[in-house]
Symmetry: D2
Subunit: 243 residues, 4 copies
């Protein structure tokens, strides 16, 4: 029952991602067929810089649906159920999450909030609670199995598991949904854990497709001002002043 | 910190629901404008039976998108976080859920799985665990507040809260999404709690719009056979035999 | 075969719309159950002004999903197929459109672009073309019926129908989707016809729910600047200057 | 202004598609982390047959969301606007379509319905109409440009273009959405053109991922009976008889 570490692994990106976005944008305004142009695109006959410049220009004019053609799939472990409950609220995405109904959670791992980890008294209290929960889980599972509940004992016993309990999840989002996710969850208003997850995902996106993600992040970084209002702003960017 | 009871209240249904579905279906196949016909529809000049028969006939032919024009909004309390995590996986829906980051969970309520409730030894163990969690929550919150964490103490302390912790949520689904939700969650394979929630929602839907929901429920009730396979079937309907 | 006029009729709005949005927002931050508070809300015990102020404040902080609980359904006639092809690209919405496969389009109505309507030579050429198309439709339908094509003659003959051909459609969008639709389609970059449709829908939304829609419209009206870039701006608002 | 031929080119498939679906399914029921297992999966240490058998088994039990992690992107040309209007009604998908507002449609190509193509009198009438429309488009464009309408002349003149006018579109759908699309559009009730498109897409899917798409197609092929009802059935499968 160790404390869990978040790990995010990129399982898949749509191949030829920049060319695909470029081709989709071009098809909107082009007389010819991008299916025809495709072999030359992937052979690099139109430079990555030219493609990136075109994509940037159309994106800036507010036309962003073509970035949807590219998706990223991540395998995530070492995140709490609190975090995945926030994650799966993003509906334009696909999720396959480890089930607490079917997977045995004896000796579950858990996440420790940083403010607790750096406070020895709080950490001790937190860990004592985790230990008690683990023992309750095991005892309940045994009692229910003894009462003939079979495989369903796990789904009953899970009711004691904490929000801190570690989960694993496979996540696919297209680039438009990712940009939206980052705009909300890289913001300092997001909870530390989902913000950490968003930042990990963004780093992988930047490696794979810098032309699209280099400038991505919280909304303030696109807007040049903080849209969260006086009550919530972190102060990194000025609030919007209506001219 | 009492044990919670599920309550589902219907807050809103699209008005003139049957007429709206009828009008939408008619518009697909009709030369005239249903906007023109609308006052006569809502005045009852075409009988509810005639409308229902038309809707049923087109639905049976596999054309189901017009039922999307009608939505139901429910306020739900007395459900566990385990249950809402299953609920919000239904993506064609809108959710507003009580936040454990902002709401104080001292003396949280909790749900008890029936197999635990009817097993005195299990119930005692379960309740002892809930009591321990509540005291950990309060002590952690106090420790973190004392350490200057302010309002964020709640969002850290919530990591000890159990999956059993009670939540409240406002849910809106359109009728197509509801029919899909019922087909999966009224099935005996669904966990007891989300199945209970689905059945409560279905009862309210049947009251408000019997023409659409009288025959709704688990997939087997539409199909006439169980699609869950030998391993998972509850035996209520025969498995499908490929002719 | 007259020239068609657009008509938009509001068929349905979610009842108690402002209270529903207020209740959904409240549930996120409130200890109690909004299902409990609901009868007092709809009885007006919390004033419309108080509710509106709360909604505005949370919306401004960037939390906009609760407005999804309210939907509007419109019946639309007198719009071209060009316009509906743009409309149905908005995917978070439900549509029931008059089918050219099943509805007889002999003597179809059509839309005339304003720049053609005010140019006598262009209008004459346009109308001559419409007349020729109508006669081709009728002759093809007769020829195909004579060849035994039956009811499918219509779906073949429709291939000659112009983009100008009038269509009828029932549209449901929730308020979040509506605000997005207005932000794009009330903009002067949108084509005249879908912009006219968006403005008609916005006027009906403003009547029904002014607290939410009074300030809605093109993106510039929210942002205070034009995001469309130098090449596309209409000049009504200044371009964004990065500070 | 030749008659157009449909061409569908597969631009992209999510890499390691079968392993990705397998990994996503496994994560739901597996204690370990599929991110850990991933290098061995893509190295082929678990055979394609084993993976396929697992996927098939879970799919059959009604759990189909993990197939969403894999997407296909197609470039399509040689389809009519009638066809793309049907295509884009599938909302869980991404589209980038050639714009008739921005692309010059002088000498547009067009599609000819087969029942017209094989009927000499109908074909002659159809082609005469296409010729008249092309000349109207050109004359209107010239008249509007002469009247100072500039680049917007195209978006006005396009109102005469027929439903038959050829379009090009880039389409991305995930596998769950594709299976649904095929179930409706490979059915003989679908119009010949979108059915041809669906069959072309299905053939490409079968080549790339036979484990998932070998058995895909119209609903009857999964159900073993025709769900379209007596009025619409093509007779290939028996109607469902309620046992």
């Amino acid at each position: 029952m160790p404390c869990a570490q978040r790990r995010v692994r990129l399982l898949a990106v749509t191949p030829d991602a920049l060319s695909l976005i470029y081709a989709a944008f071009r098809q909107c305004y082009h007389t010819g067929f991008v299916g025809e142009m495709w072999p030359r695109l992937v052979a690099g006959e139109i430079s990555r810089d030219t493609q990136a410049a075109f994509v940037r220009q159309v994106l800036e004019s507010g036309h962003d649906s073509p970035v949807e053609h590219v998706s990223f799939t991540f395998a995530v472990e070492g995140v709490s159920r609190a975090c995945t409950h926030q994650l799966v609220r993003h509906r334009i995405a696909s999720y396959s999450q480890q089930s607490q109904r079917y997977v045995d959670e004896t000796d579950f791992d858990y996440l420790v909030p940083p403010a607790i980890a750096r406070n020895p008294a709080a950490l001790e209290r937190f860990e004592a609670c985790m230990t008690e929960i683990a023992s309750a889980y095991q005892e309940l599972k045994a009692l229910l199995e003894a009462a003939g509940r079979g495989a369903k004992a796990k789904e009953d016993a899970r009711f004691v598991l904490p929000q801190a309990a570690e989960s694993k999840i496979v996540v696919t989002m297209n680039c438009r949904s990712l940009l939206h996710f980052f705009s909300l969850r890289c913001c300092s208003r997001a909870q530390w854990e989902v913000r950490g997850l968003a930042n990990d995902m963004l780093a992988l996106c930047r490696d794979a497709l810098p032309e699209l993600f280099a400038a991505a992040g919280a909304r303030c970084e696109q807007l040049g001002y903080c849209p969260e209002g006086e009550r919530f702003t972190c102060g990194r960017y000025p609030l919007r002043t209506i001219a």
